[in-house]
């Protein structure tokens, strides 16, 4: 495949160059750029939340190699279950499966069954770029445009033998080009949706204690702006 072919979008590829993301995620990821690969580390809900915005706008999504994917949670976050393809057990053929899906399916969520080789990574990255589709990888991916990870997470709603899980407050860090950004989110909130959990929300729920913030992260990265907004 020549370099020229990589840069030229194939015929019929839609022209809008970003896919929507949920409003709560916009401070982290303004929009999913078509043709990029996003790697997500930590948790089953973050990749689903990332795909929810595009799916709600009418994009087709596919989930490859994740038989444990909670479709109900995804649908509560905004993923349209009528536009969702599940390929639970692609086995060793996942690179082929993903390459087939990229293009007609605009967002592909992937958990590789084995550590991807450099060749596979390069080939699929080029494939995504060529077809203008977004590949969201649960796990490491060399040369990902954006890496998202959950830096800290705390569930609320459970007491000592009473209550039930209500919502989870997480700090999500996005690393890509430029400074890392961080945002506090309800992932999910008591209705199963994704909502922003800025400082105002924290003060309202005074009992919430933050734990486990990793020292390497700038917690204040983009927070003031987000709180002001």
């Amino acid at each position: 495949m020549s370099a020229f072919a990589l840069r030229t979008p194939v015929e019929g590829a839609p022209q809008a160059d970003t896919l929507a993301v949920l409003p709560a995620l916009q401070s982290l990821v303004p929009g999913l750029r078509r043709g990029q690969v996003v790697s997500v580390d930590g948790g089953g809900s973050l990749p689903l939340a990332l795909a929810a915005g595009a799916s709600a706008e009418g994009a087709w999504c596919a989930v490859v190699g994740m038989p444990e994917c909670g479709v109900l949670a995804a649908s509560n976050m905004g993923v349209d279950p009528g536009r969702l393809l599940l390929v639970d057990e692609p086995g060793g053929r996942w690179p082929e499966v993903v390459a087939t899906l990229l293009g007609p399916v605009e967002v592909v969520l992937l958990r590789p069954s084995a550590r991807p080789s450099v060749v596979e990574v390069r080939r699929l990255t080029a494939h995504a770029r060529r077809h203008g589709a977004v590949l969201v990888v649960a796990g490491a991916w060399q040369g990902a445009y954006l890496r998202l990870r959950v830096a800290s997470s705390l569930w609320t709603g459970l007491g000592d033998g009473h209550g039930h899980l209500r919502g989870r407050r997480v700090q999500v860090v996005a690393e890509g080009k430029g400074r890392p950004r961080a945002a506090w989110l309800w992932l999910p909130d008591p209705d199963g949706k994704v909502a922003s959990a800025g400082l105002a929300a924290v003060e309202a729920g005074a009992e919430v204690v933050e734990t486990g913030v990793e020292p390497g992260v700038e917690p204040g990265g983009e927070l003031p702006a987000e709180v002001a907004g």
Binding site: G44, G70, L72, A74, P81, L85, V87, T100, P190, G212
Partner: protein
């Protein structure tokens, strides 16, 4: 109209046979709470057709109950119909379990009605189905003749009325041609108990008193045919075949051939005003084996699209592991496209509103992946009813239309509350839950927790510290069905790594059903 000689092949208790029940064990098929068919063993215990399920179970507590499956019955009966068709081409499937053929010609060919009946019965029995064959004037009399004796009888020409006379009027529903069975009860109340008595009534009076249905029943009872058998025409061979000599190793020439074959197939179908629901692609190779796969067609695939599917199929088989039985080795020697389920092409009308149309490109991708990985490997989610998160979503293979057995609308008291977990294990993962003293936490029959859970270890992994917990939420499901019965308690637990867990404890075993991650 005098009735034509008719041969009827009857497979007793077909609905039960079709669901795969063993005739030696008591089993029954139920629809709407009533028994529609049962095995001989069940009949010995007093189970009867039309009985209510609870009455049947009272008489025969070990009765194994199956839901009615009309499509499965019809599909399974095709095998029997095919066997009968190999003797005489014009088979009418009266209903699954009973098929009729005009007997005159074949009987002359095979050397007598009794000989023909024996031949057909043996062929069906060899196929693995119990069968009885009757020959008489008309389908109704032949169906009763098939039921008489261990293997059916041959009623001589013109003897149908005399043969039918001693039967009670209740056998009229055997023909299943009567829309309402009240007639049978009414005749009973009028003191008419046998078909002979009914047939003795003047036909005109029966018509004025009981209407058209009554007249039809009267014709049946008199050994006359209500209508000639509606046979299906012998299947025209619309298959398109191409032999390749010398054998072809590469896919491209085969795909090229497939394109022209598909053109031929479509032209043949269109000339007869037909469409096929599915098309079967069969590829034979040098080693003498052939592999086939069915593709949904619905009259929608162009010949290029058919050729494309042949290419996917070849690619999928070529790339299969060399040792696997499906792997394609050697050159292709012949390619065959045959239409499956040919129907009259009545056009295709799209709904004006509310019909979800699937993007063609997505449709193609999904079908292609199914060729690569198998039909069930590509699924779409469908919401169904249930309490646990795993039960609330079904994965339906792409292209199949299934209705969930349980409605998602509920009510489902005791359903695990929102938010739904993002990780739902397809099969629960074993876990160990211990208290502060390191002892396993147990739940008593009265839902008392032995001590608060303190540590959680999943699948033998490192112990996580429990920061919060709630439960037990007992569930007692399907207690009426020994196979599905389940008594369990659910817990929600949070651990110090920021994850939430939905645990289920069932007979002292802890398992992780889902993770809030």
């Amino acid at each position: 109209m005098s009735s034509a000689r008719t041969l009827v092949a009857w497979c007793p208790d077909w609905p039960v046979v079709a669901v795969g029940a063993d005739a030696a064990t008591p089993a029954a098929v139920v629809s709407g709470g009533r028994i529609t068919a049962c095995t001989a063993a069940a009949r010995e215990s007093g189970v009867r057709r039309g009985q209510r399920l609870r009455d049947a179970q009272r008489r025969c507590p070990v009765l194994s109950v199956h839901a009615e499956d009309p499509e499965g019955e019809a599909r399974c009966f095709e095998q029997v119909a095919a066997v009968v068709e190999s003797f005489c081409p014009r088979v009418e499937v009266v209903r699954p379990g009973l098929c009729a053929v005009p007997a005159r010609g074949p009987a002359r060919y095979f050397g007598g009605e009794q000989v023909l009946a024996d031949l057909i019965r043996e062929a069906v029995v060899l196929r693995g189905f119990e069968c009885a064959v009757g020959v008489a004037d008309g389908v109704f009399a032949a169906a009763l003749a098939a039921r008489k004796g261990p293997a059916g009888v041959v009623v001589p020409v013109g003897e149908a009325a005399r043969f039918l006379a001693p039967y009670p009027v209740s056998v009229l529903d055997v023909a299943r041609t009567l829309p309402d069975l009240d007639l049978v009860g009414l005749l009973g109340r009028l003191g008419i108990r046998t078909l002979g008595e009914f047939a003795a009534l003047p036909a005109g009076s029966v018509l004025t008193r009981f209407g058209v249905d009554g007249a039809v029943a009267h014709r049946l009872a008199s050994g006359l045919e209500p209508r000639p058998p509606a046979t299906r025409p012998p299947g025209e061979d619309l298959t398109a075949v191409m032999r390749l000599d010398p054998p072809v190793e590469q896919s491209e020439p085969v795909v090229f051939v497939a394109k022209s074959l598909a053109d031929e197939l479509h032209a043949n179908l269109a000339a007869r005003g037909l469409a096929c629901v599915r098309v079967e692609v069969e590829v034979s190779t040098e080693d003498g084996r052939s592999r086939s796969r069915l593709w949904r067609h619905d009259g929608l695939l162009s010949s290029t699209a058919v050729a494309e599917r042949v290419r996917w199929q070849l690619d999928a088989w070529r790339t299969d592991a060399p040792g696997s039985p499906d792997a394609l080795v050697g050159g292709v020697v012949s390619l065959r496209l045959s239409p499956d389920q040919v129907v009259v092409d009545s056009g295709r009308q799209l709904a004006l509103w509310g019909q979800a149309t699937v993007d063609d490109r997505v449709e193609r991708v999904a079908t292609r992946l199914q060729a690569m990985l198998g039909h069930a490997a590509v699924t779409v989610p469908m919401f169904a009813g249930g309490r646990g998160p795993g039960e609330q979503v079904l994965r339906v293979p792409w292209g199949d239309r299934l209705e969930p057995r349980l409605s998602a609308a509920g009510p489902w008291p005791g359903r695990v509350p929102l938010p739904a977990p993002a990780v739902v294990h397809p099969s629960p993962v074993p876990a160990a839950v211990t208290d502060a003293a390191g002892q396993p936490v147990t739940v008593s029959g009265r839902c008392e927790v032995s001590s608060p859970p303190c540590r959680l270890s999943v699948d033998g992994g490192p112990a996580l510290v429990v920061t919060g917990w709630t439960g037990p939420w007992p569930t007692l499901e399907h207690w009426w069905d020994a196979g599905l019965a389940r008594r369990a308690a659910r817990f929600q637990v949070t651990t110090d790594d920021g994850r939430g867990w939905l645990l289920v404890v069932d007979r002292g075993r802890w398992r992780v059903e889902a993770v809030h991650d």
